[in-house]
Symmetry: C2
Subunit: 377 residues, 2 copies
DNA sequence: TTGAAAGCGCTAACAT
DNA sequence: ATGTTAGCGCTTTCAA
């Protein structure tokens, strides 16, 4: 027996936690048996098991996850790393309701948590916050069996290195052509298809010809893909377009959306028939400002968004948009990780493209039946 | 040097992850130095440090969180355990939007995640799912520096034992009088006060006298506290009440709320002037059904909820309710944990009661100005 | 500033 | 069915 003895104090807060040794000693068995009681109860005779469990209870024994992970090389934990969207506003006041930035990662967290739970994993979530040689990913990577990374949270080089040792799935960011990251599993949503289909709907079903696209100034592969979908539909429909968005805004917020609408609708004669926004936030902002300008949506101008945030359904007119399956994204990530972890370690990298749904509602002139969900009108 | 040598393979997927030994060997230093480079870079001369870092990069070294945690007795992780609210419906279809059951724990997760991040911790979340002698809590407990438990997720006895070794904070469930759990930190919301104040408003400001309370059949201390608040206000206002809710429903869902409204408003002559629901979900359901019955809210009947879910603001008429600071709850939990972890290990147990806010909106006849948030109307 | 060595608490062969 | 014995990969005195 090892010199592992600890004073069995009676005071309430005990400094050192009891270990297998303590439990073993107290119940008169070996540490191996104690371990077995937890890992594989059936391998221990019932009376013995009872004694061990009793001793554990008396001592307040809780197995150390760290020691376990170290010895067994697995943790039962899946991870998620995402950028620190922290937002000055978020500090202040209520922040209770639909904060779009939160929602995005939150939906993914929801999906992952749910799926992880189904597979018996817990979820470790961490937002990148830089610091030292020890980036966040490394911290997470060292503690989980596999993890998902949102978009481009992490230097690809580092990811490349880590992903040699454990499953990593890349979320939402499109796979780069010639990147280091070709061997990662990867899940994205059909940005291109969604925007194309939505645009097609505007052109063909509503007969609109003068569209304006409002994109982002920041480089975002998602937004680019959406824009390309828009272009494709325009060209297919014989609508004349340049190869740049009509406007690029900085933040894709409601405020920017409102401003964009103001700018684009100012030139009265040539006002676009439709404002196609790269996300719902901007579109909602536009709706608001258009109303104030006395322009009716969809009669005077059609507005569309992208994302399918809850708010999009609740504004008036309800927003025609493309719904992204965020929760699914999280679920898919977990499923991929779990698959890798249970055998398929070196299967071919998988790349999933989750389908999106065009949601036709009032802001394009469709969807009378919308908004009829109980309690909301 | 230990027999720790591993073949440096060139194939892409390497089986064993490199360790401090590998890095040490490759950079010609001792493992102690490698460790120092990560834990305390300044204790190592710059050139040495560079060499180590370079070797680490070449090898794809990632420190093992487990080994670290084991050796240093701390993880940098905070935990959250909550009940498995999993919901048959949740499996199906979209589940994208505001699902109240999710929202509840999700808001707390948001709050905790945010606060944890501020303090440099990551968050481990796990929903209880039973299984063997190793309950979820134990699993979480063994992997975090401290954790929060939602309501009565866990047998109190087990919690008692665990909480001797690490900080635990109990969320939302009221502290039992004579429980084992008196030494835990504890955060709840002012259910009693909130419901009392809301009810007082109905009685005194709107002059209502015939109220009906719709509570829950399941035992829930929160709902009980609300009901007691209601009673207190009624009695204070000289309104006659029994000591049981006028109706108790099973699930507190929209459907049940609708049914409750039907039942209570059926008896036409003595229809209540106000339906006071124990949560928003039910109230929203009631709004819907009342509209269909041709009863106008608030003119014919006043409706109120409790929780302050986003939906409450978006229905028409907007719902008068009591807003619970869920995100704050999560933040408070983290703050408490962090405080304990940084010194105050055996300070007196703290019990926080977070204030709630009565939100007066259309459904009680107040709040013309409400709903004016940009983009929502 | 760096190295040597002793654990941290557990799991997993291998014995018995 | 149970015990023995090595580690797992890192941190941390204590020396040098």
């Amino acid at each position: 027996m090892r010199a592992h003895t600890k004073p069995l104090r009676e005071s309430f807060y005990v400094s050192a936690a009891p270990t297998v040794y303590d439990v073993a000693e107290r119940s008169g068995v070996s540490i191996a048996t104690v371990s077995r009681v937890y890992r594989n109860p059936d391998a221990v005779r019932a009376p013995t098991r009872e004694r061990v469990l009793a001793a554990a209870r008396e001592l307040g024994y809780v197995p150390s996850g760290n020691a376990r992970g170290l010895a067994s090389r697995s943790t039962g934990i899946l991870g998620l790393c995402f950028p620190d969207y922290s937002d000055p506003d978020a500090e202040a006041g209520e922040a209770e309701d639909e904060d779009p930035a939160m929602l995005y990662s939150d939906q993914i967290i929801r999906g992952m948590e749910r799926a992880a739970r189904r597979h018996g994993y817990a979820l470790l979530i961490a937002a990148s916050l830089e610091g030292g040689p020890e980036s966040l990913v490394a911290k997470v990577a060292g503690r989980v069996d596999g993890f998902a990374v949102l978009a481009r949270t992490v230097p690809t080089e580092e990811l490349e290195v880590i992903s040699r040792r454990q499953p990593v799935v890349m979320l939402a960011g499109p796979r780069e052509g010639d990147d280091h990251l070709d061997h990662l599993d990867h899940v994205e949503v059909a940005n291109f298809d969604g925007q194309r289909e939505l645009t097609r709907h505007l052109i063909e079903d509503h007969g609109l010809r003068r569209l304006a696209y409002i994109g982002s100034a920041e480089e975002s592969p998602d937004v680019e893909a959406r824009f390309r979908g828009y272009l494709a539909a325009c060209r297919a429909g014989g609508v004349e377009v340049g190869d740049e968005p009509d406007l690029r805004v900085g933040m894709m917020t409601q405020a920017e959306g409102a401003r964009a609408a103001d700018v684009l609708c100012a030139r009265d004669g040539e006002r676009p028939q439709a404002l196609v926004f790269a996300n719902d936030q901007m579109a909602v902002g536009a709706l608001h400002t258009l109303e104030q300008r006395g322009l009716r949506v969809p009669d005077d101008v059609v507005v569309t968004g992208f994302d399918g945030i809850p708010l999009s359904r609740l504004v008036r007119p309800a927003l025609t948009t493309v719904r992204q399956p965020m929760v699914r994204l999280g679920e898919a990530a977990v499923d991929l990780l779990v698959k890798r972890l249970s055998g398929a370690r070196d299967a071919e990298p998988v790349s999933l493209m989750l389908p999106v749904t065009v949601v036709r509602r009032g802001s394009c002139g469709c969807g009378e039946g919308e908004g009829g969900k109980p309690g909301v009108r």
